[in-house]
């Protein structure tokens, strides 16, 4: 079997990976872009609007996703994992990758959604963060790229309905994983982050009180492709009138052994607050904070704007929550602004969950050590010289794989990684 060769392997098809791949491809390098989910786009594709300009997130990500899909220099592999990487001297990496079986022939699938309609199995939709169900055979989300159905075999009951309705005969229950080796000259890690799981912090009552949701769920509710077509309380489907944000949920917490700040929660909460005031003009929004970290370009102004719009910022965090029978959450807190003890009722509590490391990628390097920091983020070994360098020469890191970052920084860093990879390829490509 002849091995394919690429100039660069980009692991992770979120906005960082897409941007790195596009920049390298524009320079004329051949890029292999690998994404483990069935669609590229990562977390950004699921956001509503982005701070501080309130641009619509999909207006930024969709064109980039499409050009990554169509770029003649980019080979895109979705639903694909990197299993093993061996470094064979400078400028040479051997990579073992596995394409997971989709059970749907992507060439034949026309994204007609007939199979989705026919499928009788409903499971929670991970792309809607459990706010809605999806079928066992499904197209990941509205703006997925590539827009092809995937069969989730774990939940499939093999009823064959999809096969019967598929007009192109794309369904293949006998599909098998494909494993093969490729050679690449350099690697960019854009593996991103995972969201903090609020179940680890039972005091927030996530999972116990229905009207306690995460900020990512709120992001979906606010987005134009919202699962409910509106902002509704999960408990009774009513419109929330008083909403609380708890910042630093899963960040700056030594009890969780994770003292880092997640960098974006303050800003996305302020953004969501502004959007909420737009969507629900009569609603009151409270943000409970320790320090408001509005540090980027235009962020402080955005924070002041939210204050002027009437978002209530309260220095002081609650930690005692109670639920009334109608689902209202009773919150006790100390208000430093008024120097008062308060007990307040909220229709909806949003946990501004933090960004946690996704350091699994370190394991795939078999004969070289990818250093992680003590919390699991990929370590930058030359912070003040060449910040995108990792402990392995020729392997670069982009975006949130090396620590929490906002979108502009992620995109800038993706380009920086591309530039370092390009230099490395030029130096060592034989």
């Amino acid at each position: 079997m002849s091995e394919e060769t690429y100039d660069a392997l980009v692991i992770g098809g979120g906005i960082a990976g897409i941007e790195s791949a596009l920049t390298l491809a524009d320079m004329g390098f051949k890029v292999l872009l690998v994404e483990k989910e069935p669609s590229i786009g990562g977390k950004m594709a699921l956001l509503s609007k982005v701070f501080p300009t309130l641009d619509c997130a999909s207006c930024i990500s969709t064109p980039k996703m499409a050009s990554a899909y169509h770029h003649p220099n980019i080979t895109l592999k979705v639903y694909t994992e990197v299993l093993e990487i061996y470094k064979q001297g400078e400028g040479n990496f051997e990579v073992l990758i596995r394409e997971k079986p989709k059970y749907v022939d992507p060439q034949a699938c026309t994204a007609c959604t007939l199979c989705e309609k026919a499928c009788p199995v409903i499971v929670p939709d991970e792309f809607q963060f459990g706010l809605r169900g999806r079928k066992a055979i499904y197209i990941p989300f509205d703006i997925a790229v590539p827009k092809k159905a995937v069969l989730d075999i774990k939940n499939c009951i093999f009823c064959g309905q999809c096969e019967r309705v598929c007009p192109t005969g794309a369904i293949n229950f006998l599909d098998e994983p494909k494993e093969y080796k490729v050679k690449v000259h350099s690697i960019i890690l854009a593996t991103g982050y995972k969201l903090f799981d609020p179940l680890k912090k039972p005091e927030f009552k996530f999972g116990q009180f229905k009207n306690v949701i995460t900020s990512m769920q709120m992001e979906r509710l606010l987005s134009p492709t919202s699962p409910y077509e509106g902002i509704l309380k999960p408990k009774d489907g009513g419109e929330p009138m008083k909403i609380a944000y708890f910042l630093c949920a899963g960040s700056r917490d030594l009890k969780l052994n994770y003292p880092l700040c997640s960098q974006v929660c303050c800003m996305y909460s302020i953004k969501q607050a502004q959007l909420l005031l737009g969507a629900l003009p009569l609603a009151d929004v409270y943000i409970f904070y320790i320090d408001i970290r509005a540090f980027g370009k235009g962020y402080e102004e955005f924070y002041q704007q939210a204050k002027a719009m009437g978002v209530n910022f309260i220095k002081g965090q609650p930690s005692l929550l109670d639920e009334k029978s109608d689902g209202t959450v009773v919150v006790t807190y100390w208000d430093s602004n008024d120097n008062q003890f308060k007990v307040d009722e909220f229709d909806l509590v949003v946990l501004s969950v933090g960004l946690w490391p996704n350091g699994d990628i370190a394991k795939v390097f078999k004969n070289a050590k990818l250093e992680l920091d003590e919390y699991g983020w990929i370590k930058r070994i030359d912070e003040n010289g060449n910040p995108v360098k990792t402990s392995i020469e020729g392997v670069f890191v982009a975006g949130t794989a090396s620590g929490p970052k906002d979108i502009p920084e992620t995109i800038i860093e993706a380009n920086a990684a591309a530039s370092q990879a390009a230099k490395y390829i030029i130096k060592y490509k034989r």
Partner: protein, 657 residues
């Protein structure tokens, strides 16, 4: 322009999409409606046009029937426009003679009534046919580009960009206004995270730069004029004399012998230097400079090193051709107004950059001495010159957050603790913004005993003297507004960043500045290091306050973008640009007003005089000019005004069937 012949041999292909379209659109009806339409030689339907069989069919038809235009009516162009473009190209037809009509997302899926969706589909297909009839064959625009980049600013951002670009085989001209490279970073005492000195950070980068043979470094120089456009900029650089021409083994003696002493600006006047000097050990270029303002032309130094110094050296003006420009002009620290927190009023109120130099100069001992007095307690006041609240009377205020200061100060706090454990620290802050991984610094500084006191946004602390001591008095938010007073030996004002002379550079390059005077990117997320002017990139603190590593990252990113434009030595542009028919142009100049990139100017046409002209390298193809031209002289070549008009007429025919 030449008389255009309409395309007469168009093939129309209507896809069933396996029922996705045909269930709600009568595909046969669509084919029947268009097959006898003028200009159409054949119309076919097929179950899956995008399938191999469908593609082959189109390819063969083009060859067999000598088609000169193709319309495919299928799904959204986002999905398969590329596929069919490639099919058409494979068959030897220009890809711009193809039009993709959407009858799935915008017809069969949108409407449940077969009659209406069919009408709408026909309307779209007819419009598509009219488009193709008037379409012109287009090629990508290729232009030769200079494979070289001008970098303005020799701080770490400029050096990083120079390293990256030269490493990708692109020639670099690095222009620095000061006599030495390294910018503000060289003055930093210790940098996060490993306590490296600022000068060592700079030195590390410069050592790498020394190995490059495709970088021209011009210090003591300024860019005075820039003209041209992406790929072909003409740049004028004014080089001020250094007076020291080459190195000499006795150069040190020559410096020692200089009789002039002036305050050393590198150390903010904490020390003095000679008229001939190096700012610090190991500064680059490794050649001292003579400060013409301080030098008395006494000639003492010349006596020692002879022709290594030429006091009669004249300034030079150089000219370069470059393909792109990276602007990394950096920042300047905010200078507090006299009286602001006791600044200039009390001797022991200094700013953070000065404090940094003080720490660096005190490296040797274990006591920190300022103004002849030992320092045992320090109060840091945050947000000086940042997050200022406009109140209508105080003129220009910096509303933005300067981003680096919390991290920098808190890192200093830890380093200070390590070196001078006895010094008590009080930090008066509004919000501690040690974002991301920097939070560890805050945690550490706290663990080590730094006291943090949050003051209210509207009521900053007061600084005043009492019995020869400085008092900082502030309200404490945590204690519900109680007043806290502390006696300290030194007050350090944590000053923010202000853009450095961006007005001047933005005028020379005609790029824009945004809020606070920082250079404005084209789009914070889509094009974060590009400006609206193609070929000009920005990085580092000239764009926004940043830390060292963020500055380096943005410089690398700007290099990547500049390189992807120039690396092939030619620029490839999409053919979607506006063009002027000089015969029709009546010089209304409305196009010039509406053009977002300044691509339209005027040019002499033979026999026609001065008429509008589009610089294709600068045109982004928005078409706004075509909407305002009174004579329709300017046209987008992928979507001409006549095309749109004919499409409108055709579309209504479809709906009215």
């Amino acid at each position: 322009m030449s008389k255009f012949v309409e395309r007469q041999r168009i093939g129309v292909y209507v896809c069933h999409c396996g029922g996705n379209i045909s269930d709600y659109v009568d595909v046969k009806e669509v084919v029947n409606a268009v097959k006898d339409y003028p200009g159409v030689v054949l119309a076919k339907d097929f179950i899956f046009m995008c399938s191999d069989a469908g593609q082959k069919m189109i390819e063969e038809d083009i060859k067999k029937h000598n088609l000169d235009g193709v319309v495919v009516a299928a799904c959204s162009p986002k999905l398969h426009e590329m596929t069919f473009r490639n099919v058409v190209t494979r068959a030897g037809l220009n890809p711009f003679l193809f039009y993709h009509v959407n009858i799935r997302e915008q017809s069969s899926w949108a409407h449940r009534d077969r009659k209406y969706s069919t009408k709408k589909a026909i309307s779209h297909v007819l419009a598509g046919i009219e488009y193709v009839k008037l379409a012109s064959a287009l090629e990508k625009i290729r232009m030769k580009a200079e494979k070289s980049v001008l970098i303005i600013g020799g701080g770490i951002a400029g050096i990083r960009a120079a390293l990256d670009l030269s490493g990708m085989g692109i020639n670099v001209v690095l222009v620095e206004k000061e006599p030495f490279l390294g910018g503000r970073t060289a003055r930093i005492w210790r940098t996060h995270p490993n306590g490296k000195k600022g000068v060592d950070v700079v030195r590390g980068l410069i050592n790498e730069l020394k190995e490059r043979d495709n970088v021209v470094i011009l210090t003591n120089s300024e860019v005075t004029h820039v003209e041209g456009f992406v790929g072909n900029f003409k740049v004028k650089v004014h080089v001020n004399p250094r007076y020291v021409i080459k190195n000499h083994p006795r150069m040190k003696e020559a410096i020692d012998v200089c009789p002039v002493t002036v305050p050393d600006e590198f150390n903010y006047g904490l020390t003095t230097r000679k008229a001939i000097y190096y700012p610090y050990e190991g500064a680059y270029p490794e050649l001292p400079v003579i400060d013409p303002k301080a030098c008395t032309r006494c000639g003492e130094c010349v006596k020692i090193v002879g022709d290594a110094i030429d006091l009669s050296q004249k300034p030079m003006d150089l000219e370069f051709k470059v393909g792109a420009i990276v602007v990394t002009t950096g920042f300047k620290p905010y200078e507090p107004k006299p009286g602001e927190f006791g600044y200039k009023e009390y001797g022991n109120v200094i700013t953070l950059p000065v404090f940094d130099r003080l720490l660096d100069l005190s490296e040797g001992g274990n006591k920190l001495i300022y103004n002849g007095k030992e320092i045992n307690s320090i109060a840091f006041i945050y947000c000086v010159g940042s997050r200022q609240i406009p109140n209508g009377s105080n003129g220009k205020v910096n509303e933005y957050c300067s981003r680096y200061c919390c991290n920098a100060t808190i890192y200093r706090a830890s380093q200070l603790k390590r070196k001078y454990p006895h010094i008590k620290q009080y930090h008066f802050y509004r919000d501690i913004r040690t974002y991301g991984l920097n939070e560890l610094l805050y945690l550490k500084a706290g663990e080590e005993g730094a006291v943090f006191i949050k003051y209210p946004d509207e009521e900053p602390p007061k600084v005043y003297g009492e019995d020869g001591k400085l008092i900082v008095e502030s309200k404490d938010v945590v204690l519900g507004g109680d007043t806290v007073r502390t006696k300290v030996d030194l007050v350090v004002l944590v000053v923010g960043m202000e853009p450095y002379d961006t007005k001047k550079i933005s005028d020379i390059l005609s790029i824009s500045t945004g809020k606070g005077g920082f250079l404005q990117e084209a789009h914070p997320k889509l094009r974060p290091v590009e400006t609206l002017k193609s070929g000009i990139y920005i990085a580092g603190t000239a764009q926004a306050p940043r830390t060292i590593s963020e500055t380096l990252i943005s410089a690398s990113a700007a290099s990547a973008k500049a390189a992807s434009m120039l690396i092939k030595g030619e620029i490839e542009l999409e053919p979607r640009v506006a063009r002027v028919d000089p015969e029709k142009c009546n010089l209304s100049k409305r196009c010039v007003e509406v053009c977002p990139t300044g691509a339209i100017s005027f040019k002499e046409y033979e026999g026609l005089g001065t008429k509008a002209w589009v610089n294709e390298a600068m045109c982004i193809g928005c078409g706004a000019c075509t909407a305002v031209c009174p004579t329709e002289a300017i046209q987008l070549n992928t979507l001409k005004t006549t095309q749109i008009k004919r499409m409108i007429e055709a579309a209504i025919k479809g709906l009215e069937r």
